[in-house]
Symmetry: D2
Amino acid sequence: MTHTVHGQKSLLARVRRIKGQADALERLIEAGQDLDCGKVLQQIAAIRGAVAGLMAEVLEGHLREHVAAENLTTEQRHEEIEEVVAVLRTYLK
Amino acid sequence: MTHTVHGQKSLLARVRRIKGQADALERLIEAGQDLDCGKVLQQIAAIRGAVAGLMAEVLEGHLREHVAAENLTTEQRHEEIEEVVAVLRTYLK
Amino acid sequence: MTHTVHGQKSLLARVRRIKGQADALERLIEAGQDLDCGKVLQQIAAIRGAVAGLMAEVLEGHLREHVAAENLTTEQRHEEIEEVVAVLRTYLK
Amino acid sequence: MTHTVHGQKSLLARVRRIKGQADALERLIEAGQDLDCGKVLQQIAAIRGAVAGLMAEVLEGHLREHVAAENLTTEQRHEEIEEVVAVLRTYLK
């Protein structure tokens, strides 16, 4: 299934932001003895939020562009749906 | 969109279990001064898990029976998908 | 550990609201053939949000009133904390 | 508040694993036209799980080593607790 170039740019920007946040978290933890738990907790929560935003964008794009695509056989459509179900199960525990 | 009778029975059983859990939680909290926080926290976590299970069953059924239904127009399919997207957004915050 | 009467009233109001939401969900599902998936999904998401709000209120009260209580032995304080850890693990999967 | 050296090593290992997962995700998305949605969704779900594990380890350590520390004034203990409450609110929405 192909994705639009615009979609790709937006996803890459989100992933690179997460990588930057993880770098900053690594430096916070490397502070060792002077580790500030409050800041570490906030940084992890920020990464969690960024990952949730990335998941939402990919899932919505997958549902609208692939699951709803007109030229699919019923079998193909069910395959696309099972990819969504597999991810939903990681959230709905 | 119609649901199978089997699906309905399973969903009703889940909802009634949640109602029973909420009744038990109410009684725990009514204990007032002797309220056991540990038990209350566990009971709320149990209800949360039951609600997640219910959501998973309805979402999966909706995706497989409605979104993937063969006799839909593209517009109808997008409408069904937007119902999924609306729920996903409550989880992906 | 004792809870304030005010806290108890607020918690009971939240639980009763969840019970009311579950009743409404039961009626939606009992509609059988004419079951409206969109409304059912929204109602479950609303219950999930109400349960999250209830959990937040109990957890915060437990942390502030019990875990932070001045007259605890270290052992008692660790017991109170382990109740929080047990609940956190149901969320942090 | 100081953290044990052992704790620091474990946290750094987790963060570096997340960075590696984010690198792999970036390469998946850079595939552009041949982007495999299923693999991207799985990879994001894996990162989400790793971030949850990291959050659990830091929160539990903070609760047991800082919130429960014996030599705290009541005011200091409440400050440590408010850091936990701030993070819980990002989860309990």
